[in-house]
Amino acid sequence: MLVLTRKSEEGFLIGDDIRVTVLEVKGGAVRLGIEAPADKKIYRQEVFDRICRENQEAAQWNPTDLDALSESLKGVEKK
């Protein structure tokens, strides 16, 4: 892992199209400004990790459960 020390208002570039600036360091938290092309998605790590875990969980299911479930869900759907 590359480790850099930056002060408030200093920044760095990732490639030539992503610019990260340290806006404020206060009370154990760092506020970062990120400029990146619109197609570069930016996620907080814990949000991304949660979706990864949920997808892994969602891949664990048993086909025999599903016919019964489909049947029981018919009444739940609103339309």
């Binding site: 891949a59 599903l66 479930l69």
Partner: protein, 141 residues
């Protein structure tokens, strides 16, 4: 036609031209680009997709708007471009369903799937700023 062996559904014959394509894979599964949409054995809101790249992986999907009338996610220009569609083309919403052992299923409304029928492409998007939950239980009937 091709055959995919060793899935939880047994061996599946499928047309490689007709697979559902995820250009970016699913979140946490970036290598899964092609899925077979499995025919429904019984009518109902759930359907399932089987990964072509990994026979062990299949997901249950549903249309979340059938359960949550106020759920709406609109693709931005970048997402439309990845889906290969223009501003006028339809983009439907799907949610990944988690089926825990107690069968109390939940929908992942924090990371819906955008689906473009025109191109048969799909994209799982993470909603960073949303109050919808990763494990949203179904509303009471």
């Amino acid at each position: 036609m091709k055959t995919l062996t060793g899935t939880r559904f047994g061996d599946i014959e499928y047309d490689p031209e007709q697979t559902l394509k995820f250009p970016e894979g699913l979140v946490g599964f970036p290598h899964l680009h092609h899925f077979i949409v499995m025919p429904q054995t019984k009518p109902g809101p759930l359907f399932w997709i089987q990964s072509v790249e990994d026979a062990a992986l299949a997901f249950v999907l549903t249309d979340p708007c059938g359960f949550f009338l106020d759920y709406a996610v609109t693709p931005d220009a970048g997402e439309r471009s990845k889906l290969g569609i223009g501003d006028e083309d339809d983009c439907l919403l799907l949610a990944v369903v988690t089926v825990p052992p107690d069968r109390k299923i939940t929908l992942n409304l924090a990371a819906p799937i955008l689906f473009a029928p025109k191109t048969n492409r799909a994209l799982q998007v993470i909603l960073e700023k949303t109050s919808w939950q990763t494990r949203t239980p179904l509303p009471a009937a």
